[in-house]
Homo-oligomer: 333 residues x 2
């Protein structure tokens, strides 16, 4: 907040354009979202908080849009040929991604699906050893760390869930404990708790019997910010049913990478189907994020002199415009 | 529905892509909107129906977007210089616009604001005579006609509302009765009933004391599909407070025209702030209407051969694309 206040002053924006309010309960948020001058809301945080703001906004006399980005488990699908080529390299990459920022990235890969066999065993063994070597670190605040410890303990107690590896170093109550566990697709499909995000450095590797079971698991995943596919071009082409299922649930689909890097660029889409966000049509990162707080207006038969520069016939800004269905920088004559 | 079924067959679209269901109550709509396979809803009709669908959709376990277009009073603002130049021509134009399609266009101009004086008197007298000469005609169905007759009677009984002109011809109960009434801005500001749409060939001319009272009236209008400004370029420039107030409430702003023509083109925006629609960011008419039923997805690090043609490096479709922040038709090399 201090940094933003400095930036506001530096850019000579109106004082009061930014405010930072504290509060232990949802009451501050409720007042803000239900105030009649509020026209749109952006939010990043928990499902409970984000969904509550969305509900309040829709219950207003004049409903307003709420862009809640509420987290995601960001499933990763390991296809067999790719895994047989580079199980250990993928494991190393994911040991880093799972624990990046103490697992607090909203694009943290919390679920990894693979097909049972010796390549997945190799991947798991290497990933376990990688996680053991990662030091615990402070989470954003103590409340988040407490919640992580509770959820992690609950997850490891679920029927059919087995620990693969956890840090060998001592952790304080304020720290996240790097952890990877595994289960079968059968348990995953039967237990909705295993679909949920555990906010912090925890991931679950789900072992599928075959490609059909992986497809069933993909179809059971809820809406996500990202999904990732590790596969050769040939096997991605051969698994178009899995690809289609994953496309249906996510806002960004990565091939042979990790979801944790979120670049601020025009092609970024940081959003996804509910419950990842409350509005899958908008992004929270990249230039298009501005569109959350804008709406179109058509100006018909306006005097040229009164139009904004972007729309004047002479195109004084020299920008690309669509005129009579054609993109052009030419003036309208 | 028959025409669309023929088009579906002609275009060889999948059978079942279109269905037409009847029902007297909202129950059919409720079943459709709350079904878990339904992902988005478009609606045109009354506020009661559209808002109810919106509420049901937001109460689902997985909320879905609802694009309800719920009607609009489409206010027209007559600035004095323009009115003094062409009061009778404007009156003739509006006599036609108010009664076009028996006043059932969602962009029907239901409210006209002017500043008291002899030019507005000239306008009113001419508009009254114009309306008297328009024949009654059948409305969409008897229920709509019944509702029009009731609302029209109620409107004419409101305190401070006076009849300006109504058709001189006999109307059946199935027909709309062309009608124009007038009131003062004081009555308009005090009586929310006068802000509401009367669906059919009825308009209310609101007489303002001066430009300040016209500004107050503009600021009291609810969200609209369109607003219209009749004015010379000089006086539009001089009334930027009124222009700003009108921009804030509408999706399309017309200068020196009528709102009733809705062209299907790229620059069309047929939408507007609540309660005109439930989502001011989308249009129900024009190419962008498709965006109501689409959502973005980013494909990261995909093998070129598996990308859709629109995204392949070679640009086989030869379309405009944004590459490294520049619009181009060139291939990516």
């Amino acid at each position: 907040a201090d940094a933003i206040h400095k930036a506001v002053a530096h850019c000579e924006l109106p004082a009061g354009v930014f405010a930072h309010l504290h509060g232990q309960s949802h009451e501050v948020g409720k007042q803000l979202v239900t105030h009649r001058y509020t026209k749109a809301v952006g939010f990043t945080g928990s499902y409970g908080g984000g969904k509550q703001l969305f509900d309040w906004a829709n219950q207003r006399d004049e409903p307003i849009p709420v862009f809640s980005e509420m987290g995601s488990v960001n499933p990763v699908f390991l296809l067999p040929e790719k895994l047989s080529q580079s199980a250990e390299a993928i494991a190393d990459m994911y040991a880093g991604s799972i624990t990046l920022g103490v697992g607090q990235f909203c694009t943290n890969p919390g679920l990894v699906f693979g097909i049972k066999g010796k390549d997945l065993d190799t991947f798991l063994a290497r990933l376990g050893r990688g996680i053991e070597a990662v030091a615990p670190a402070n989470m954003l605040h103590e409340g988040i760390a407490k919640s992580f410890h509770e959820s992690r303990a609950k997850a490891l107690q679920q029927d059919g869930v087995n620990l693969v590896g956890t840090t060998t170093m001592e952790a304080t109550t304020a720290q996240g404990i790097p952890t990877v566990a595994t289960t079968t697709a059968k348990h995953f499909l039967a237990n909705p708790f295993l679909h949920k995000e555990i906010f912090g450095p925890y991931s679950l590797v789900v072992q599928c019997h075959d490609a059909d079971e992986m497809l069933a698991a993909a179809r059971h995943c809820e809406g996500q910010l990202t999904s990732t596919l590790m596969g050769t071009a040939a096997e991605i082409a051969a698994h178009d049913d899995v690809v289609e299922a994953i496309k249906n649930i996510c806002g960004r689909l990565i091939v042979n990478g990790v979801p944790t890097g979120v670049e601020v660029c025009l092609s970024q889409h940081h959003g996804g189907p509910f419950p990842a966000t409350t509005d899958a049509r908008f992004t929270a990162v990249g230039a298009d994020a501005l569109k959350r707080f804008a709406r179109p207006i058509a100006l018909q038969n306006w005097p040229d002199s009164l139009l904004p520069d972007e729309l004047k016939n002479a195109n004084p800004l020299g920008i690309w415009r669509t005129v009579n269905n054609e993109l052009t920088k030419e003036p309208v004559v």
